[in-house]
Each structure stands twice: as structure tokens, then as C-alpha cells.
């Protein structure tokens, strides 16, 4: 086998033969985690220019199917009142974005960022032939494949294709979770899952050493998963120790007003962990956090307002924290949910599973404003849902190409029409 065949080997082929060890102090010390090390250069040498940057992506999953019409609210459309006699009240207290749309009243922080031109709202994001199952639609969004033939997550694929996650397991990290979200999953990527920064440590005096001895060459179909998980845990612990030394959120907050990650807001706690990882420079590149509760089959008016309050508080604190550290121009925040909700409300003041909904892209590199075409309330699909106008993969493509600056076709399989929401200059 000649040198040209190198490109056909998966990372696992290298890993299982123990080749990756010599990442080399030079490679490690040279810079940021996004810099591919010896292994990555051997395989992906041609891509260096594409991935050499300090951009970070934070995906926020709004799990359960977040309603779009009570988030980015049509202010002028009389059909809203007809479809949603109770829920359309939200329009009365909405924060106006322009003449046609208002933001959910709980999202004052995001509104402030909108006013600064840092928020892009993409209307009507979805995919053909909407699937109303949470499970299936989540999988579609996670894999970037409406045909549901793919197993790996789009973020996991991005990591496997571009970054040396074996040497730097925090490249892809789920914060505030105890399992790997499907979007990050890829067997060719090493990933971290950190539930809480204070609990991410071995309690047993000798456990760290013992686990290192035990998980070394574990046989069986799960062997590599076990070994890399334990390695990732031990390595991450060492990195977190460093991160704690370099990041002191409280001091920063006391100097600023109202910059509080509410301890009662789990999304805020997860984003604070994300901020710590980003700010301390331990090699975080793609982070994923989740907030659930959006499956509002009943009493949606109050429930969604409350949930959007959590989202708003968490994003505001996170962005301000990054800004205080001079890092907000590196980080793109994007929200996603498996689907929006039915246009008409139910008798319980809730909504059933729907289709298209808006996505938010937030950050200093975003070109603020609306993108895409808002779906018409007068032209619903057969099931009574909003028809999509933007394929979610168009937004993925923009995130990959313009923000992370990696090859999106490798992940998404083809090119889509651009949604130019992120500055490329």
C-alpha cells in the first residue's frame, strides 16, 4: 500500500494500531485544537487552510418541537387570530422586530442583540415531506438526512472529517448532558460529554490510575467505545483543571450588571460550562446543549413564554460573558428543533406537532436580519402545518462553510442554495 492510500484509512484504522500516540509536543503546543496534528495532517493535509481558524459553534437544541408562531410572531396577519384564538394573544405583547414580525415577549436579551445586528432569523426552516414523529424528525435533523439513511450526526461527521478529536477530545462536547447527542455521534470521532464541571472528576483516590490501566485494549464490539470514553474522561479532567484556573465568571459578572447565569436555568448552566471551555482554550470547537419541554400540547401560551425566558436568559449571559472576554466574534450560536408546531391551536390551548419553524443564528459574525421567506398562514399543508421555505441543510451549509469554514459537501452530501447569514470577510 502506497502513501496515496493513506487517505482511505479511517481514523479508527490508525487508532486501533496505536499510531496516533506521537501527536508530538510540537503539534500540541503550536496552537489551538483546531490545528490538525500529525495524524490529521497525514490524512487531511490538503484541508489545512480550511480548518485553521479559531471559530467555535454552539448548537442549542430546543427539544420537543418548538413553536415558531409564538416565537417569531406575525403581527399583521389576521389569519393568526382565526387559527389561534388563545395563543395569538402573544402578538399583543411581542417585541417588534419590523412591521410584520415581533419576538416573543420573554426574549428581551435576544431583541437587544437583534438591535445590534447580531441576530439572523431564518424563516420557515424544514424539509420535504415533514415527519411528525419526534424521534424520526430529530434523527433527520441530527444526521442532516431527510431520507433517514445516515447513522452519523452532522456535527460528528464534521469533527471526524476535519479535526483531530482523538488527540483533543473536547473538540466536540455535549455540555450539561449525560449522553452524546445524535448530532455529535460518529464512531470516527472522539467526543466528550460533561454533565457539570464540578462533578466531572473521579471520587475514588486511585480511580483515575486504575481506569487508565483497565481500559487499554478492551476487546469486543464496544471495546473502542469504552477505551476512548475513558481516555476522553481522564484527558478532559486534566483539561478542566486548567480551564478552572483560567476562567472566573463571577469576577467578570460583579463588574458588569445583570450578567448572571441563573443557577435555576439548566440551559444557562450548560452554556456557562461551554463558556468556560471556550474561554480557557482547552480546545473546544463544536459544543451542543439541549433544553427540553417544547412539546406544548397544552397551555402553550404560558409554557412557551417561560421556556423562551430560559433560552433568552441563557443566551444573553453567554454572549455577554464571551464579549467580556473578547471572544464573542469567534462563537456562533444556532438554535434548532425537530419541528415547529401545527398552525391551529388545540382545545387545551396547545398545539400538535407541525413542520417548518424559524432558526436563530446569533453572534458577532452574523449579518443580522431576516432570511428566507416566512411561510404563509393561508397556504398550510394538508396536515395544517406551515410549509417549509428553507431546507435546514441550507442553514447547516452556511454554518459549516461561512462560520467553521470547512467543506460542507463532505458532511451534507451536496451543495444547497446559500443563506448568506454569516459574514465571510
Amino acid at each position: 500500500m502506497g502513501a496515496t492510500d493513506l487517505s482511505r484509512l479511517s481514523r479508527r484504522d490508525f487508532l486501533r494500531n496505536g499510531f496516533v500516540f506521537g501527536a508530538g509536543a510540537a503539534g500540541l503546543a503550536a496552537g489551538y485544537a483546531a490545528v490538525p496534528d500529525v495524524f490529521a495532517r497525514a490524512v487531511y493535509g490538503g484541508k489545512l487552510d480550511g480548518v485553521m481558524n479559531d471559530r467555535v459553534l454552539v448548537m442549542i437544541q430546543l427539544a420537543g418541537g418548538a413553536d415558531g408562531l409564538q416565537t417569531v410572531i406575525p403581527l399583521q396577519d389576521p389569519k393568526l387570530r382565526a387559527l389561534r384564538p388563545q395563543l395569538s394573544q402573544a402578538a399583543n405583547s411581542a417585541l417588534p422586530l419590523d412591521a410584520s414580525f415581533g419576538l416573543n415577549r420573554s426574549m428581551r436579551g435576544v431583541k437587544a442583540l437583534w438591535d445590534q445586528g447580531k441576530v439572523a432569523i431564518v424563516h420557515g426552516v424544514g424539509y420535504p415531506q415533514p415527519n411528525y414523529s419526534h424521534f424520526d424528525s430529530i434523527r433527520i435533523w441530527e444526521t442532516g438526512d431527510p431520507m433517514r439513511r445516515q447513522q452519523d450526526g452532522w456535527l460528528g461527521k464534521t469533527i471526524a472529517a476535519n479535526y483531530d478529536s482523538a488527540g483533543h477530545p473536547l473538540v466536540g462536547c455535549a455540555c450539561g448532558s449525560s449522553e452524546i447527542p445524535g448530532a455529535l455521534r460518529d464512531l470516527d470521532a472522539t467526543l466528550s460529554v460533561i454533565n457539570g464541571q464540578n462533578t466531572f472528576k473521579f471520587n475514588g483516590a486511585d480511580a483515575d490510575r486504575a481506569m487508565g490501566v483497565i481500559y487499554n485494549g478492551t476487546p469486543g464490539i464496544y471495546g473502542a467505545l469504552f477505551d476512548t470514553s475513558v481516555f476522553s474522561a481522564r484527558d478532559t479532567m486534566a483539561r478542566l483543571r486548567l480551564a478552572r484556573e483560567k476562567y472566573t465568571p463571577r469576577a467578570a459578572y460583579n463588574d458588569n450588571v445583570n450578567l448572571v447565569y441563573s443557577s435555576r436555568n439548566q440551559l444557562a448552566s450548560a452554556l456557562q460550562l461551554a463558556a468556560q471551555l471556550i474561554i480557557s482554550g482547552v480546545g473546544a470547537k463544536i459544543l451542543h446543549v439541549t433544553l427540553g419541554g417544547f412539546d406544548t400540547h397544552d397551555q402553550q401560551l404560558a409554557r412557551l413564554d417561560s421556556l423562551m425566558g430560559y433560552v433568552d436568559g441563557a443566551i444573553s449571559a453567554f454572549h455577554a460573558d464571551l464579549a467580556a472576554y473578547g471572544m464573542s466574534d469567534r462563537v456562533l450560536i444556532a438554535t434548532w428543533s425537530e419541528f415547529g408546531r401545527r398552525a391551529a391551536e388545540t382545545a387545551n390551548g396547545g398545539t400538535d406537532h407541525g413542520a417548518a419553524a424559524p432558526m436563530f443564528l446569533i453572534g458577532d459574525t452574523v449579518k443580522g436580519g431576516f432570511y428566507g421567506e416566512a411561510p404563509s398562514l393561508g397556504a398550510l399543508d394538508r396536515g395544517g402545518s406551515l410549509k417549509y421555505t428553507v431546507d435546514f441543510r441550507q442553514v447547516y451549509q452556511e454554518i459549516l462553510e461561512s462560520h467553521l469554514r470547512v467543506d460542507s459537501q463532505e458532511v451534507l452530501g451536496k451543495a444547497f442554495e446559500r443563506i448568506p447569514a454569516v459574514r465571510t470577510a
Binding site: R16, D54, L187, S269
Partner: protein, 588 residues
Amino acid sequence: MCAHGKTTAPGGPTRRKVLLTALATGVGVASARILGLRNLDASESLSSLVDTMDMSMATGVAELPDEYDAMFGVPDDSYAAQDFLDASNLPRTKPVALPPVDVRPAVALQLPVSGIASPKLAGDVDWVSPLPKESAKVTHLLRRATFGATEVELDRALSEGFARTVERLIESPFVEPPVFPAPAAPRPSASPSMTPRASASARPSPSASAKPSASAAPSMAAGAASPSPSAPAVLTNTTSINIGNLQGWWLDWMTKSPTPFAERMTLFWHGHFTSDYRKVGTNSPAIYWQNLTWRRMALGDLRSMLLKVTPDLAMLRYLDLAASTGRAPNENYARELLELFTMGVGSYTEDDVKAAAKALAGWRLPVRTEPTAQTGIFDARRAFTGAVTFLGKTGTFNTESVVDTILANDATAPFIVRQLVTSFVTPSSSDTYVARLADRFRRSRYDTKTLMRDIFTSPEFVAPETFRSLIKSPTDFMISAAKALGATNLSGTIRQYGSTLGQNMFDPPSVAGWGEGASWISSNTMLQRANFVTAAIGALRTTPSAARAHERHLDSVLAQGTVNELNLAREDKSRWFAVFASPEFQLK
């Protein structure tokens, strides 16, 4: 169900390097001897022996005589590539200076070097199956059907043998847990529907992050199931319950029940016909009654089950059937009944969901004047009276005819069978295996007792490739550790770590229940599994001897790393740590 990425690509996990097959046919006893830690208690450690072995092989293979080489010499590209992949053969790039990095010096984005060496991965080498041995079949069964075993249970099953143990598990009437006591005074509890949390069908793992209100975790010790002196004797459907106590009550019973198979089946159905206390609420014992109902019906026929599941009080709340009327049908229960409970996605249409929603409407919760009702009440005035077309049949339907129509559908038996097989046998069941079981299941009028017996006695259940092919759920893992230790004071610790590891009783991440397999394993959960072991061992009043733990609980089939650590562990507590924290013990 949502196993990890490529491991469940169509066809499921592959075991390309199947040296175990060769071993397992005929040399089971010999291999077990070889794989045993014969020197564990001797002063001389095994490390010298281990050092002579092929580093990438499961322990023990190196001692096999030469003639096995031919059998093991399976052409395998990973090994063919080995020479080439030796680092010294690689076209080494000279240490060129890295291109400049777009990093502002004001912010240190230097990578900290953690100093931890990457593990050496084993590649496609598999565990050597001991399953030809009768004793290994027995321990395999107990791991999968009864959360492992106490010393007493293990001795009994080993003396009975595999076949008799299967019969005993299946035929012993399930012993009921002790009555969960009503609290002394009813406590007001928050309206469940206002909990800002993934309600019923939010399938994404809301996990910890999905619970914005960090509240709720009751601080009362779990397992404190002793009734308070002034407790009322009877729970009514408006009695509030303490969920922490209820979780402890069940976990406690899992470690103590004389019929642990009942608890294993109840946990299976809890994950299948799932409900969570956050949406159901704790202002009623509904979720407790559901647990009792699921246990009583656990080996019954599927028709009776579905007719109990549909009007179950907790289910009525969880999937909104209580809020559904013929005039304004709510699709939530109808959809999950088809998608997750019986047929699986792809075997029905959206129109079937809408039709079923109409046909099932009419159930309501008891009202104040019906305090003793333990199931939903059907109110014909709330029902849909017209005709619908459901799964190709047009007419007027009620709950029974919806269930009967589902049971008449070819998708149902294979769907249920695959769920059970994935949980009890293998993550990658073949279609023919599922079809064979499903055929008998359907012909037995969907009798799950027949099905479970068929599953345990099928050759596939003890086939070499099923050995350690399943990952223990957190509950499986923790209960089996407690039972191995003979510890009965760990339900509080187990409850606490259940939350950390992603499996809280009565609190599944989504309406799809808990995941299976690889989804349990991450850097975070491996860390916390080790921490559970530390906590469990620390909570022991007395530490049992660990001298034979690797034989009793790991079948003496050990990875090299485990052998190394067992030999370094010189006293019982550290030896138990190595046993429970090992990859072998995470598997079943």
C-alpha cells in the same frame, strides 16, 4: 433502541474477527481454564505471562496450541494492514513548522497537554465466549434476566442448571413489592403540566439539561419505605406521593425481590409503555399504580396489556388521552400507540394516527367524587361516534377494536419481538430470528410468557456472538453490583447515580423510553460508573471477599487491562473496584 452510530448500521454490529466461534465449539472448558486468573491469589502476578501475549488479543489466546492458529487466521484487513501501519513504515512527514494560526495572543488558546496516553485499541478482537459451558449459560441468563445474582441466587441457579433456571424464572409467580405507604399528610404538588420540561412526547433526551427548573429532587432518603405512624392505610387517587421515596422503594425491591425476573420485566415494560412522573404529576399515586399494573401484566397477553395501558391513569395524563375528545381529538396517545407501543414507524399512515385518535377518544380521569378509581373512566359523551378508516378497515371503532385491529396487523408481532430481543438477546437481531419468534408469539395469541420462554431457550440466546453483546443499563449495572456485594443498603446511592448515569426510575428521557446499548456509554457516564463503584464500596458495612469475584461475576473471561489491575489490587475493596469498574462488568 437508539444504539450508537455505526454499531447498528443495517445488519448491526459486526464481529469480523470471530476467533471466539472457533474456540467456543468444543474447547470451552479449556479456554475458560486458560482465561482464568489462576495466579490471582498467588504472589506472582500474571503480568509476565501477559507480556508474552499478543498485545492486541484478548487474554489467554496466546496459550492455545499452534493448531488453533490456522483456525484463528481469519483473513482480516486490519491485521493485513498491520505491518504497514507500524509507525516506522509510514512516510513520516518531517517536523515542518506549522502554518501560522489565527489566534490572538491576548487569549491563551494553547492546548494544555494533559499528559495522558491514548489507549491502545484492540481493533476487531472479540471476547472469547465461554457460553458452551453450562455454568456460563447460567450466569449469562442471570445477567440478562435478573440483574445479575446474589451469592445465594448464583449458587442455586448453578446447581439447577440453565434449563431448570429458565423454567423457574418464567413459572414462579411474581412476588409483589411491599405496599408503598401513603404519606402522613397530603402535600400540595405543582401542577404537572406547568413543569417546564419535555413533556410526554419530547423524545430528545431532555436529560438533565432539559429540566430548567433544577428543583424537584426530593431530599428524603430513598428506600425509606417504612410507613410513618399516622399514615393513612389507603391511597386514593388524590393522595400525593414523594417521588424520591417511590424511586427508592422500587430500587430497593429490585435488589431484594425473590423473583427478580419480575422486576426486570417490569423495568422493560416501564421503558416500553413509558410514562414520566414530571408530566403525570405526584399529586396522585398514578405512577405508582402503573408500576404495580405493569408488574401484574408483565407476562400476560399483549391484548390484555394494551387494554390496561390505554386507560391507565398515568398514561392518560402522560400522552394526553384524557384530554382527547371525539370533537377535538388529541393525537399524542394514538401516535405513540402505533409508533412506539405496537407497530413501529412506517407500518401505518398519518391518516391512521388521526383515525385512531378519534376512535380512542372518550377516556377521562376520575373526578373528586370518584376517589377510589384506579383507572380511567370511559365517557361515551366524549367519544367519537362516526366511522373512521383505520389500518384499512372502515367502521365505528372503540378502544377494543382499535387494539384488535392493531393485533391483526402483520407489523405488530415482529415489532414487539424485536424490542424484547434487543433488550434481552442481541443488538443486531436477524430478521429470520425475529420472524420465527414473532410467528409463535402471534400463534400463542400474543402470550408474552411463551415469547420469553422461546427467547431464553432459543439457540440464539446462548450463541457465542451474544456473549457480552449488550451493555448494562445504569440500573442493570448498579443493581447487579449491589447484588454481587450482597448489599441491601444501596438504594439511595443507586437512586442518586441513576440520575447522573441517565436512568431515573419513572423519569425516562422521552416517550421512547431509555436508549439501549452504546447510548449508555460516554466519557461522562464511564466516569460516573466508576464513581458509583467507589460510593457503593464505601457504603458497605462489611466487605465480602473478592478473591473469587472475577470467576463468579466476570466468568473468568478477562481483558488484559482488567487482569493487570486485578493483580495490582491487593485487598478486597480495590479488587471489587476493579471488578465492577471493568468493561467486563459493564456488559451482559
